[in-house]
């Protein structure tokens, strides 16, 4: 931001540096090792009085001079040129901080050059002793050059104490100085052998050639143990956080690691042809293969070293975007462009949004990214993102995947950069209104009847979840497959009512138009891949269909059925997230219907991933994850974690997310070390989404008040409560889940940049689907909650304490039986038709209040009761009756 940016969009200046640098280091290590090679080989020729070997040395010097002095020397200056064009500020820091160190390096360089020239031009005229002296001077001064450069290069990765002391000595003799020096010295010797092959293989005389090749092979093999030991020493001298960031999180480094390992193994294997007898042809081809492998080896190593520094160019001091770390806070607060010397635009306005974005792109992205160019093409990388997706990416950039620098600047500047990428580069609309505006089609229900005088039974049936969500992107992935769960209790009315468990049968049946969900989804096509079980069409995981019987659940002492594969799609194309089921209790022996009722199966596919991950709603343009969105999601997952989910899905092998990520609700244990599904999803997205309130929840959960499901529809919602009062704001919610992950490495990474309202130390960990907000956290003692009551951090202690599993004081009636499903507790206000969720209260009481509210004990007891037998404070008037009148 202090300097102009060379606007090279196709081949960014960083790539240019990389090309020049790799070519240079390949030669420069040879230049150092080659010095010792020449000296020792020349010495050997003198000691052995071997004129042929001496002739080889002379030949090698000429080759050496042409390669190292011409190409090596000038390409070294080339690095200097290119880094000054690419990162002028960092170059300036290095030049100024190390000016006399560079000057010392130059002294070694001039000695090196003169020594080499004399060694070459005076080879024949000098005595052996003097010639060897010159060779030794070359070798030592070349190695001293390495000594100096090594201090500066390692400083950039591990500036160590310098950050505090600003002392040159701390900078130079930094934590990785010594291991890197030993390692690079090893490389030099290895490369000396490698290049030695080149001149050796062209020796015409066979015996000499084979001797020379074997001799050069020694130079390759002898440094190997030193390379291995110092390599590990070097690697572990790098602070752990840097290693995690750049060798675990940054998947781009993986390619370099693989290349490094691959070329190491091949290099040493192929070099065997010079140890064993082989034909000259093979030897010649082998030499050039080895040179190529050596080049890729050093390229991979330098790539890893460069990437290890990310997101900095001087670690902990200056970001790779040439922004000083110490300026970050001020620039975020006051604006980046305001202080960017070479930005034409100083303040983002509506009319200059794209242009300002371009300035920001140049200043904060171009050092690593190109535009439709050779490397890190920003257009390719941001392909599957919408404007909000882009903003979210920028918001989260550098937090989890902290090898990228964070975006620096104000919110407005972030929007400008996102606008430049999405509109300016992709040509997409940035003014798309992603807010929901769905108009539910009201479908009145015919309520079942109840005759308090004659009916002997009360049948209460419910869906265990207030909203069963389904991913419906089974061709690509699934984390929620079709399968709703119902439960029911049959109560024989009387002063002392009886819960009937024997000799009755509870039947259920879906309303018309929902009987064949397989017509509307590909789930059954991919079920075997996803669930490792072949399923009959229209049947769920427990073989239940859309019509069937509830089984008696001995453990819970009620009737239940799991895995009823109901979908929110009606055959006529109507989106209907609250289909109605009929439930009948039948006397098994007589076949007589004891009671009849209806219940809702709340089910939705409203996951609005497309808002960020692009695409459109899948089903009739209303809801669901489209192929485009799903593919984008898989690609992002693959890119960030190194999986191959997208390719597998293309081959017909979609993934069940919980096969890796443990999830209680789908009874999956996942893979050890992976975070639970919920912790992963919330933890990851909390780092990226710029919203922290309900807007964030509504992007993934079907809860938008103008959306097509509107699942949070009960009395709490009516009274103005949103998700966050119980679950916490996004960062708090994510933190509570991540804290339960027993300190996995990824949980720590996801947690470290969250900014919850509650201090992390005060957030109680919770396991998803087990530790949920406890109703009694607010309704202490079943009383009216305090005005400021919040249920966050007051989790149920175990699964059986969940609202949907908990029972009353008699241990016979589940809370949910009388109060309704979670998020749809009575009275519930469903936009798909009034009282849609309140069928049973209306059936039995005529009012949508909890069963037995307002003293209606007679529903079951036939008479009015005096004691609060089911729970405290139950015999009273309903507090919020006025909500019923609205």
């Amino acid at each position: 931001m202090n300097y102009p940016v060379w606007e090279l969009y196709y081949l960014n200046s960083g790539t240019l540096v990389a090309v020049v640098a790799v070519l240079h280091v390949f030669i420069s290590h040879f230049a150092v090792g080659g010095g010792f090679f020449l000296y020792l080989t020349d010495l050997k020729s003198v000691k052995e009085r071997n004129p042929e070997l001496k002739e080889y040395v002379q030949r090698h010097i000429w080759f050496f001079l042409l390669i190292t002095m011409v190409f090596g020397g000038v390409s070294g200056v080339g690095i200097w040129f290119s880094i000054a064009l690419s990162s002028p500020w960092a170059t300036s820091v290095l030049i100024h901080q190390f000016v006399f160190v560079w000057a010392i390096e130059w002294v070694f360089f001039i000695v090196e050059i003169v020594a080499l020239l004399i060694y070459h031009y005076k080879f024949d005229s000098l005595s052996d002793r003097k010639r060897l002296n010159i060779a030794a001077i070359y070798a030592i001064s070349a190695w001293l050059s390495l000594f100096i450069i090594n201090g500066i290069i390692t400083f950039m990765l591990t500036p160590g104490e310098w950050l505090q002391t600003n002392s040159l000595w701390d900078a130079f003799f930094n934590p990785t100085f010594l291991p890197a020096l030993v390692f690079r010295t090893g490389i030099c010797f290895m490369f000396a052998g490698l290049f030695g092959f080149v001149t050796a293989v062209f020796s015409k005389e066979e015996i000499l050639r084979n001797r020379l090749l074997k001799y050069c092979a020694k130079w390759l093999y002898i440094p190997l143990p030193f390379l291995l030991i110092s390599g590990f020493w070097y690697f572990y001298s790098v602070p752990e956080n840097i290693r995690v960031t750049n060798f675990l999180l940054n998947k781009q480094t993986a390619n370099a690691i693989n290349l490094f390992i691959f070329s190491s193994v091949l290099l040493y294997l192929i070099a065997i042809i010079f140890v064993i007898r082989s034909s000259r042809k093979i030897q010649k081809v082998g030499v050039f293969i080895l040179l190529f492998l050596g080049f890729s080896w050093i390229g991979a190593f330098e790539y890893m070293r460069e990437y290890a520094r990310k997101p900095f160019i001087i670690h902990g001091y200056m970001y790779s975007t040439s922004v000083m770390k110490s300026d970050e806070e001020r620039l975020n607060r006051e604006g980046f462009l305001k202080y960017a010397k070479w930005s034409k635009i100083k303040e983002v306005k509506e009319e200059n949004l794209i242009e300002a974005g371009r300035e920001l792109f140049n200043l904060q992205c171009l050092s690593c990214h190109t535009i439709r160019g050779v490397k890190n093409d920003i257009v390719e990388k941001t392909k599957g993102l919408t404007y909000l997706g882009m903003i979210s990416h920028l918001y989260g950039q550098g937090k989890v995947l902290d090898y990228m620098p964070r975006f620096i600047g104000t919110e407005k500047e972030m929007e400008a950069l996102a606008a430049f990428i999405i509109k300016g580069l992709h040509g997409k609309d940035i003014e798309v209104d992603y807010s929901s505006s769905f108009t539910p089609k009201e479908e009145p229900i015919e309520f079942p009847t109840f005759n308090a005088m004659t009916d002997e039974y009360v049948l209460l049936a419910w869906s265990t979840l207030g909203e069963k969500c389904i991913t419906d992107s089974d061709k690509w992935f699934s984390f929620l497959y079709p399968g709703s769960s119902f439960e029911a209790v049959l109560i024989k009315r009387g002063i002392k009512p009886e819960v009937i468990t024997n000799s009755v049968e509870i039947l259920y049946e879906v309303q018309k138009g929902f009987e064949n969900p397989s017509k509307n989804t590909e789930f059954w096509k991919y079920a075997e891949q996803l669930l490792s079980k072949k399923l009959e069409a229209n049947k769920g995981l427990s073989a239940k269909g859309l019509k069937g019987t509830l089984d008696f659940n001995k453990e819970k002492n009620l009737f239940s059925a799991e895995g009823i594969p109901v979908l929110p799609y009606r055959d006529d194309g109507q989106f209907s997230p609250y289909p109605v089921f009929e439930a009948k209790a039948i006397d098994k022996s007589s076949g007589k219907i004891l009671q009849f009722t209806k219940l809702i199966a709340p089910v939705s596919t409203e996951l609005r991933c497309f808002v960020c991950h692009e695409g459109k709603p899948k089903w009739n343009n209303i809801t669901g994850i489209s192929d485009e969105t799903a593919m984008n999601i898989l690609k992002v997952h693959d890119r960030n974690t190194g999986t191959k989910l997208y390719k597998n899905a293309l081959k017909g092998r979609p993934v069940m997310c919980q096969s890796c990520h443990e999830d209680f609700i789908v009874k999956s244990k996942g893979i050890k070390g992976h975070n639970s599904f919920s912790a992963s999803m919330h933890g990851w997205h909390a780092n990226y989404l710029p919203y922290k309130d309900e807007r964030a929840c509504n992007l993934c959960h079907p809860n938008d008040t103008k959306g097509n499901t509107r699942c949070n529809r009960d009395i709490h919602a009516k009274l103005g409560m949103g998700c966050t009062q119980c679950h916490g704001k996004l960062d708090d919610h994510a933190a509570s889940l991540l804290l339960s992950q027993e300190g996995t490495r990824t949980a720590k990474i996801l947690l470290k940049n969250l900014n919850p309202e509650n201090p992390i130390s005060k957030i109680s960990p919770r396991k998803p689907w087990i530790n949920q907000p406890d109703c009694l956290g607010c309704h202490e003692g079943f009383q009216k909650p305090d005005k400021n009551a919040k249920s966050f951090n007051k989790w149920t202690t175990e699964a059986k304490m969940l609202y949907r599993n908990r029972k009353d004081n008699t241990d016979k009636l589940p809370c949910i039986a009388c109060h309704g499903s979670p998020h749809a507790t009575y009275p519930s206000f469903n936009d798909y038709s009034k009282n849609r969720d309140n069928i049973q209260p209306i059936q039995y009481q005529g009012v949508p209040l909890p069963i037995g509210a307002e003293g209606r004990c007679d529903i079951c007891h036939k008479v009015k009761m005096k004691d609060s037998i089911h729970h405290a404070n139950m015999l009273r008037d309903f507090r919020n009756k006025k909500t019923l009148q609205e």
Partner: protein, 350 residues
Amino acid sequence: MKTPSLLPYPENITAPVEILIFLEQLFFLIHILLINSILGISIILLYKWGNTEDFFLINKLLSKKIPIFFALAINMAIPAFLFIQVVFGHLLYSSSILMGKYWIFVIPLLIIAYYSSYFHNKKFDKSPYARYALALVVLIVFYIAFMIVNNLTMMEMPERWSEYFTKRDGTVLPLNERSVYPRFLHFISASVAVGGILYSLYFKFTSSLEDKIKEGLKIFTYATTIQIIVGFWFLLSLPKETMFKFMGDDLLATTVMFLGITFTLLSVVLALKGKLIGTTILLLLTMVTMLINRYNLRIFRLQDSFSVYELKLLPQWDVFIIFLLILLIGLGILLYMFKVAFSKNKEVLK
């Protein structure tokens, strides 16, 4: 301050600015002498290519010097480039980026020129391509010199940097700046003049061929005469305010300029009289004064934007002393090596 907002913040310096400037100028002097020699000799060889029977025979060794001079010239450019960056780096980086596309080509072209000089030397009397290789060397040095002139001109004119906002792809060259062309030609004619002297010196110390020595001095005389004209053109091409600094407005600058012109005229006189050593000494003195002129010009042109005394000093005396010690040791080793290389070898070769 006309364009303060575009001037990057400079870094602190670690030694008094005078030391840094002295070091820059010293190494630049050696560098430019070597570069002038390469170009001058190359032009002379090209001009005279094959026009006498003994051309290849007598010039073979001279052609050998070109790649060696390349090695040394590049080496000497390093400290000059280093120290200019310490003092003027924030300006130089900016101007380099403005012309990045042209600037970066300096490196691959230099490599080609360097290899060409070796090719030329090895095939001097064996291949007709040797001549083309040498021509390539000359053309590339022209390119590099022209780019350096452009870069330094742009560096000294921050008021023109806003052109960046219309062309950000590294193609901004100050081609409409009048002084660029005489400045470039000033380098070319100087090179031929230095080449002429080197030509004479070479023949004086290798074969004592009198006509060749005279020929070199003649070349020097012609080139310097042109150089004087180009020099005045260069002076006149400068903005008036700057030009007048060298013509009385700044006493020191005027004195140095006057001295420079005097040394030049005297060197021509001595050359015409065939006094090679005297001419050489005067040439060196001229170069020193011209170097100071060059520095003065930079300071005058930057006076509205930047002063070297703005740089904050945070000295690193310990490293500076170590540098001086290592430099001394280095010089000692160089001396030893020269002694080994060029003394008559009395040892019996084993």
